[in-house]
C-alpha cells in the first residue's frame, strides 16, 4: 500500500474518534461549568433571602417575638424562591415548581432552628369545628410547605438526682430546665469565669469593675408620633424604652405607648451591664451548688437505648469553669457537638422524607457538610439552602449553600460592639488607631443600621438611630485591626476593657430571651 493511502486510511479512522471525543469533552465541560454557575446562583439566592430577613427584622419593633420572626422567615423564603426563579434563567417557573427541587431550607437561630419543608396537614374534625369560618381552603391530608416547629439545641442529662435538659446557644448562654432532687428548676444565663463579687455588692469581670452607665451617654434618634428626636433609652427584653419630659414610653409602629414597667431612673442610671454579670455569677454559683458542673458526657441520656453515645466523649467535666470561655474548652467542644448533632439528625430526616413529597424521581439525600461549613453555622445565625435533582447535562445537580448573617438583632457577638469616640467616629474594639476620650462609649453595631418609618402622609422615610462616621481603618476596611485575642489585647488597656465589657453586658442583657419562670 502506498504511503498516501495509509495516511488517508489513518485519517478516516482518527477523524470520527477525535470528533466524538471533542463533543464528549465539550459536554463534560458544559456540565461542570453549569454546576459551578449553579453553586454561585444558589449562594446569591440564599444571600437575597438573608438580606430580606435582615431588612424586615430591622424595621420591626417586634422582630424578637416568635410569630413576628416566623413571618420574617416566611417572607425570606419567598424572596429565596423569587431570586431562584430569576437567577437560574428559569424565569416563569413558579415557586411551586422550584419547590420540587428544594428539599429543605434551614434557618439556624440563636438557640435553635427552623426547617422549611413540606408536611402533611392534619385537619381533623376538632380543628375544623374550631376554625369553621376561617381557613376554609385547607384540607386534611393535604401537602403543605411551611416552617416546622422550632427545634432547640438541647441535650438531656441524667445523673443521680439530676435530670435536666440544657439548651445551648451560639454563644455562652444556656438554659437549664428539669428537676434536681425532685425540685423543678428553670435557670438562664451566660457562662462566664473570672467573676468576683465585691464586698460593696459591685462585680468585677476579668479584673475590671463594672459600673452603671449614665443615661445621657446612651442617646438615640427615634421617630414617634410624627416627631423625630434624640432621646436617652434603655433596652429591656428586646424593647427600647425612651425617656422624655419625665415620661417613659416605648414605640410601636411609630406611636408612643405608655407603660409602667420601666422608671425614669432606670434610664438615667443604666445598670444592665451589672445585672448581666450578676446573672452569670448567680448561674455559676447555682451550678456549683447543685453539682451541675460535675456533669460529663457519660451522663447524656441515651434516647435510642443503643448503648453507644452519638456524642463525642470528653475527658473531664463539661462545665469546667476554669477555661469555660476559651474556644477549645470542654464546654465549647460539647456545645458545638450538640448543635451539630441536633441539626444533622432532623435535617437528614427532612431531606430523605422529601422523596415522598417531590414530583421529581431523584433520590434526595443530605450532603455531608464540611468542617468549614459548620464553622460558618456556629459563627452567627445563618441560612442553609439545598438544591437537588436538577438535570445539568450528564449529571444531576446536588448542592447546598450556607450564608451567615452578620447583622441581626438576635445575638450580640464579640465583634458586635463598636466603640464610639467624641468625634462621632465608630471603631471596632481592636482598632489600632483608636484613641479613647472621656465621651467614648461602646455601642451595638445594629443601631448603626438604617431604619425606616412612615410619616403622616404615608411616605417612607429613613433614619439612623445612631449616626456617626464608620472608621475607615477598622469598619469600612479592616486594615488596622489587631489579630490578638481579646483578653490579650486588653492586658494593657483597662479603660477600653471596661468600656467594652460594659457595652457587651448591657447589650446582651437587653436582648429578648424567653424565660420560663417556675
Amino acid at each position: 500500500m502506498k504511503l498516501q493511502s495509509l495516511a488517508v486510511m489513518f485519517i478516516i479512522l482518527i477523524l470520527p474518534i477525535s470528533l466524538v471525543l471533542a463533543s464528549y469533552t465539550q459536554n463534560r465541560i458544559e456540565t461542570l461549568s453549569l454546576q459551578s454557575t449553579y453553586d454561585s446562583k444558589l449562594d446569591d439566592a440564599t444571600y437575597d433571602a438573608l438580606k430580606a430577613y435582615q431588612l424586615n427584622s430591622f424595621n420591626s419593633e417586634t422582630s424578637d417575638l416568635t410569630n413576628s420572626k416566623m413571618r420574617d422567615i416566611n417572607a425570606s423564603v419567598n424572596t429565596f424562591f423569587n431570586s431562584m426563579s430569576t437567577g437560574f434563567s428559569s424565569l416563569g417557573y413558579t415557586k411551586e415548581t422550584l419547590q420540587n427541587y428544594v428539599p429543605a431550607l434551614v434557618y439556624t437561630m440563636y438557640d435553635g432552628y427552623y426547617i422549611y419543608s413540606p408536611y402533611i396537614n392534619t385537619w381533623d374534625s376538632e380543628t375544623i369545628d374550631k376554625y369553621k369560618s376561617e381557613y376554609q381552603s385547607f384540607k386534611n391530608g393535604e401537602t403543605l410547605y411551611g416552617l416546622k416547629p422550632y427545634v432547640y439545641y438541647s441535650c438531656r442529662y441524667v445523673k443521680d438526682k439530676i435530670d435536666v435538659v440544657i439548651t445551648y446557644s451560639l454563644d455562652n448562654y444556656i438554659q437549664i430546665q428539669g428537676t434536681i432532687n425532685g425540685d423543678t428548676v428553670s435557670r438562664y444565663g451566660y457562662l462566664l469565669n473570672n467573676l468576683e463579687m465585691n464586698e460593696d455588692g459591685s462585680i468585677t469581670y476579668n479584673g475590671v469593675k463594672i459600673d452603671a452607665e449614665k443615661g445621657e451617654k446612651l442617646e438615640e434618634y427615634i421617630y414617634f408620633d410624627g416627631n423625630y428626636d434624640k432621646l436617652p433609652y434603655i433596652k429591656k427584653n428586646g424593647i427600647k424604652y425612651y425617656a422624655k419630659d419625665g415620661k417613659v414610653f416605648y414605640v410601636l409602629n411609630g406611636k408612643s405607648m405608655d407603660q409602667a414597667e420601666v422608671s425614669e431612673s432606670e434610664i438615667s442610671t443604666n445598670e444592665s451591664a451589672i445585672k448581666y454579670y450578676k446573672e452569670a455569677y448567680e448561674l455559676k454559683e447555682f451550678m456549683k451548688k447543685y453539682g451541675l458542673d460535675k456533669l460529663t458526657t457519660n451522663d447524656i441520656y441515651d434516647v435510642d437505648k443503643t448503648g453507644n453515645s452519638e456524642y463525642y466523649k470528653i475527658n473531664g467535666t463539661i462545665f469546667d469553669f476554669d477555661n469555660i470561655e476559651s474556644e477549645t474548652s470542654n464546654f465549647n467542644t460539647h456545645r458545638i457537638d450538640v448543635i451539630k448533632h441536633s441539626i444533622e439528625r432532623n435535617l437528614s430526616v427532612a431531606i430523605s422524607n422529601f422523596n415522598y413529597y417531590s414530583g421529581v424521581s431523584v433520590d434526595f439525600q443530605m450532603p455531608k457538610l464540611k468542617d468549614s461549613d459548620w464553622d460558618k453555622i456556629m459563627d452567627n445565625i445563618s441560612i442553609i439552602s439545598f438544591l437537588q435533582g436538577v438535570k445539568i447535562g450528564g449529571k444531576i445537580y446536588n448542592g447546598y449553600s450556607i450564608i451567615t448573617n452578620t447583622k441581626n438583632e438576635d445575638i450580640v457577638m464579640e465583634d458586635s460592639i463598636y466603640i464610639k469616640t467624641k468625634d462621632n467616629v465608630l471603631h471596632r474594639v481592636k482598632d489600632k488607631k483608636l484613641n479613647i476620650d472621656d465621651e467614648t462609649i461602646g455601642v451595638y453595631n445594629i443601631n448603626v443600621e438604617r431604619r425606616s418609618y412612615q410619616d403622616t402622609d404615608g411616605n417612607t422615610k429613613y433614619y439612623f438611630p445612631l449616626s456617626g462616621t464608620l472608621s475607615y481603618d477598622s469598619i469600612v476596611t479592616q486594615n488596622e485591626v489587631s489579630d490578638a485575642k481579646l483578653t490579650d489585647y486588653f492586658k494593657d488597656k483597662p479603660v477600653l476593657a471596661k468600656l467594652y465589657y460594659t457595652a457587651l453586658g448591657r447589650e446582651r442583657y437587653g436582648l429578648y430571651r424567653p424565660k420560663l419562670e417556675i
Binding site: L3, V8, L32, S40, L50, Y463, F464, T477
Partner: protein, 176 residues
C-alpha cells in the same frame, strides 16, 4: 524526477496528517480541560471569599496551585470594590430621611491585595458584607495548540489567549 517530487509532497502531507493532526486535536482537548480547571478553580475561590468574607494566604496559594497544575502560566487580576457606607448616611441625615444616599465604592487591586497576603503577620485580607470582589484569569504563555495553530495559519494576534475565566459577586459575610 516527477515521481520523486510527488513522493516528497506525499510524505510531507502524510506526516502532517498522521502526526500533526492528532497532535493538534489532543492539544486542543488539553486546552479545554485547562479551561475547565481554571474556570472551576476561579469560581470556587471567589465563592469561598464571598461566603467567608476573607482572603487567606492559604486559599490564595491553593488557587495558584490549582490553576498552575494545568501547565500554563496565568495573569491573575483581582479587584475588590470596598463599600463606603459613609456618604450614604451623611446625605440621609441632612435631608431628614427623604432620600437615600448612594453607596460609594473604591477599588483595591491585585498588587495591593498580594502585599497584604505576603506580609509576615496580619496577612489575612478581611472584607465586609456589601463589598464586591471580582477575579479574572487568562493565560500568558502560548499553549501547544496555540503554537501549532500559529505555525499553520498565523491568524493569532499578540494579546490573544485561549484560557480565560472570570467570576465575581457581592461578599455576603464580614470576615473576622
Amino acid at each position: 524526477m516527477e515521481d520523486t517530487l510527488i513522493s516528497v509532497i506525499a510524505i510531507a502531507l502524510a506526516v502532517i496528517l498522521m502526526f500533526v493532526f492528532p497532535l493538534m486535536t489532543m492539544s486542543d482537548r488539553a486546552d479545554d480541560v485547562a479551561q475547565l480547571t481554571v474556570e472551576v478553580a476561579t469560581t470556587e475561590f471567589v465563592d469561598e471569599i464571598r461566603t467567608t468574607g476573607k482572603i487567606t494566604p492559604d486559599e490564595y496559594s491553593k488557587f495558584l496551585e490549582n490553576i498552575g497544575s494545568t501547565g500554563n502560566t496565568y495573569n491573575i487580576e483581582m479587584e475588590i470594590k470596598i463599600q463606603d457606607e459613609n456618604p450614604d448616611r451623611k446625605i440621609t441625615m441632612v435631608s431628614r430621611g427623604e432620600q437615600i444616599g448612594e453607596n460609594a465604592y473604591y477599588s483595591i487591586y491585585t498588587s495591593q491585595i498580594e502585599n497584604v497576603l505576603n506580609a509576615d503577620s496580619d496577612n489575612i485580607y478581611k472584607l465586609k458584607e456589601g463589598d464586591i470582589i471580582s477575579v479574572s484569569v487568562n493565560n500568558t504563555n502560548q499553549t501547544l495548540s496555540q503554537q501549532l495553530k500559529n505555525f499553520f495559519y498565523t491568524v493569532i494576534g499578540k494579546d490573544t489567549y485561549t484560557i480565560a475565566a472570570s467570576h465575581g459577586g457581592k461578599v455576603t459575610a464580614t470576615g473576622k
